[in-house]
């Protein structure tokens, strides 16, 4: 599913954002990525979503080798993934409904399918009543839930979320993670970056730790009964 080998990213300066990252994530896995601010989590996510190119190293995701991927293949790859950005990336002048339906429109779904799926997705995050509002009329937590609904609406093979519970209260946080777990149960690979150590501990999933651009720790989940 995701295979990174000897990945480096250096910005002019030079600043080493990522150093020798190698990891493998299998289909259907649920993985947390933790680490302090500036550790390189967002940079790694940009690499995985094809927004940025590594300085060196190899990225292979869903059968796509990123070093020689064409623009067309990159577009097709992005239709197979769902991304929740730290800043949500909602389109401010489009309603919540219009924001959510975008992945389906891009994929060419019919209008009736879109209407049904958008309703289901918004109801799953408790935002159906806000469908005609603009994103800026919502709170940070509500925007985050909309962004999550958009990332999940097309049942992606891979879900990448950057701090998806950063703006919500603990009860909402649990609901969001439940959504991700449900998606994971249906076969979606989930990769979540978070600062919330209690969440990581509570959920007991595979955890990758990034520190100063290096993957310093990889802990695998421990059976709850152990």
């Amino acid at each position: 599913m995701i295979e990174l080998s000897h990945l480096y990213k250096t910005y002019p300066g030079p600043t080493h954002a990522l150093r020798n990252i190698s990891l493998q994530i299998k289909q259907g896995e649920f993985v947390f990525l933790t680490g302090p601010s500036g550790a390189g989590k967002t940079t790694l996510f940009r690499m995985i979503t094809g927004l940025d190119q590594p300085t060196s190293g190899k990225i292979q995701i869903l059968g796509n080798e990123f070093s020689n991927i064409t623009r067309k293949d990159k577009a097709l790859f992005r239709r197979q993934i769902g991304v929740v950005f730290q800043d949500f990336r909602l389109i401010p002048f489009r309603t919540i409904f219009e924001n959510i339906e975008l992945p389906l429109k891009i994929a060419g779904d019919s209008k009736s399918d879109i209407a049904t799926k958008v309703q289901a997705a918004l109801e799953s995050v408790g935002m159906w009543e806000w469908r005609d509002q603009l994103p800026l009329q919502l709170s940070g937590g509500e925007q985050q839930r909309v962004a999550i609904a958009r990332a999940l609406i097309h049942s992606p093979q891979l879900l990448i979320a950057d701090e998806p519970t950063g703006n919500v209260d603990p009860s909402q946080s649990n609901k969001i993670i439940d959504l991700f777990e449900n998606a994971c149960a249906l076969g979606t690979t989930v990769l979540i970056a978070t600062h919330d150590q209690s969440l990581v501990t509570r959920k007991n999933k595979r955890t990758l730790k990034l520190e100063a651009g290096s993957l310093t720790e990889t802990s695998t989940q421990v059976e709850a009964s152990a």
Partner: protein, 275 residues
Amino acid sequence: MKQRIFPFVMAILIWGMICLFFYAEKAAQNVVAHFQSGDRLVLIFENKVTDEKKLQIEERLQKYSPIQKKWITQKESLEDFKNFFFGNLKDENVLSDVSDSFPEFLEFTIPMGERKLAEAELTKDGYHLQTAFEWSWLLEQAPWLKYIPGIVLLFCFVLAMLLILVFSFILQQKLLSEKIEWEVRDLLGSSSMQIFKPILRHGITYAVITAAVSFFVLSMVLLLIQKATQQWIDPITAEILPEIHWQQSIGLILIALFVGALSSWQAYGSFRRSL
């Protein structure tokens, strides 16, 4: 706001230049010289006049009690014509130079009192009456005048290029203001065509609106000119301008579509590079 008005002004200017070009060209196709001597009115045509056209001109002038009418070709009686007619003019050489350049003349004799009316009648058909002296003198003083149509075309071309740049700039501004939408669409897997199509639609719409507005404004201006010229100045302008105006309207729309498409493509390319 200024950015949005600028293309309209540019489009009007381009169209005005095109009209002017066709006006000049049309005028030049007709009578380029006419001489008056006593009750004689002699017209010199730039090109060979067709039989149909001759009939039309004669019919126009028939009602002005012609004493005599005669079509003269260079081969037949140029010398006779010169000897007879130029005797009354001071600068024979100038007239000779001019008349040698043109193939056909109409010597039309009518009573003095009706000469002005006959001239006015001709102008209704779009015949541009200009004295040989004026024409030769002007060309002699400023030979570059004959390049005016070419200069006008070149000017139009430069203006069109500027217009494309302005369109492109405005589209880029619009794209920047909506950049997040294109970025998100790109992130969600939109193909190049899925991103380009809305940009193209916007570019074409904007270009056509620009063309329509400039069409309307220029129509109003031309209408005013037409009214003014009919009453006070020169009937020829009133006859020619509206005709050119309508003929060029479709061309203007086509130019707008081309400019819109080209600008959209440029704006799209610029946006792609910025990603």
